[in-house]
Symmetry: C2
Subunit: 181 residues, 2 copies
């Protein structure tokens, strides 16, 4: 029974881009992968220890830098490539907003409106956030990783714009429901 856990993929992937401390790692996972991935902080250190014991990650210390960091090993890169090639597993859907709207008759029109307004403004905020991320990527020195980063940003933008359009349409639908009842 293959385990569901993919913490190793997120950790090894992040370290394949850049060596860093466990603390920086958890910030990177939250801030950089946060749009489409989440890891519990309580999982990161244990996973790091496991990966180190398995020789997929090592602790390095550069001369110039007094701080030690975690770096991916050659075997770690192989493991990462193998894991990335496995069929993607996504979390089962759990959209609290849609669950509430589905039973919107019980919630009432005003409650539904609140949900939709909130969904819309969240989408707009997300879009602004993606703009910032695009600028940050552009301001860094070019890297072979960047085109792939941008694919995920684009996915977020498409999804956010779809949410925005849906919420606006749906608010109009609610007005129609109200007027005809």
């Amino acid at each position: 029974m293959a385990s569901d856990r993919q913490t190793d993929v997120a950790v090894l992937g992040a370290l394949s881009v850049e060596s860093m401390s466990g603390y920086a790692l958890r910030q990177a996972i939250r801030d950089v992968l946060g749009h489409f991935w989440s890891e519990s902080f309580g999982q990161i250190y244990p996973t790091l220890a496991e990966l180190r014991a398995a020789g997929l990650v090592e602790v390095t210390q550069a001369d110039a830098d007094p701080k030690s960091k975690f770096a991916i090993t050659e075997r770690g890169l192989e493991h990462l490539r193998a894991r990335l090639s496995e069929p993607p597993q996504s979390a089962r859907p759990r959209n609290g907003t849609l669950l509430r709207l589905f039973f919107g008759r019980r919630l009432g029109l005003d409650g539904c409106r609140d949900l939709l307004e909130q969904a819309r403004s969240q989408a707009v905020e997300q879009l602004a956030g993606f703009d910032v991320i695009r600028q940050e990527i552009r301001s860094e020195e070019p890297s072979d990783d960047h085109p792939y980063f941008l694919l995920t940003v684009s996915a977020g933008e498409h999804a956010a714009r779809a949410t925005e359009a849906w919420a606006e349409e749906s608010l109009l639908v609610l007005d129609r429901i109200e007027n005809q009842s």
Copy 2:
């Protein structure tokens, strides 16, 4: 500390639309809410027992129907309204496809293409599924619940169309990456 669990909302909500057996309930949650919600079957019966003990749900037996069903009580409806009014909680994001694409440099162009093709065809399948659902809703006798059901169908359609467009654009981006390297 408010619990994350929202199984009660899904169960009470479904029973607010129609009384049914636990077995039918789990099928309804899978087939009807499946686009945006999932419940573990192992949770449904225990939750049903709890709700029954709390007087939010009762076992009914119609004269015409030899089978007993679970029905929501008046107190259950109150509880449902209260729960629906709470701020929506959604699962933390866990998109295995985007996780892999983000580290696409390690996965390789062909692997990325596979992921995008798969995402695209899944989105197309979903759109076909939504068409079927719309027809089913239309074929039922009109209900005050239907407009709300349709809001969630529309959300799924917007999301699926966004995924389709993103995947197609992204496949072209991959071609460009290949040609310029």
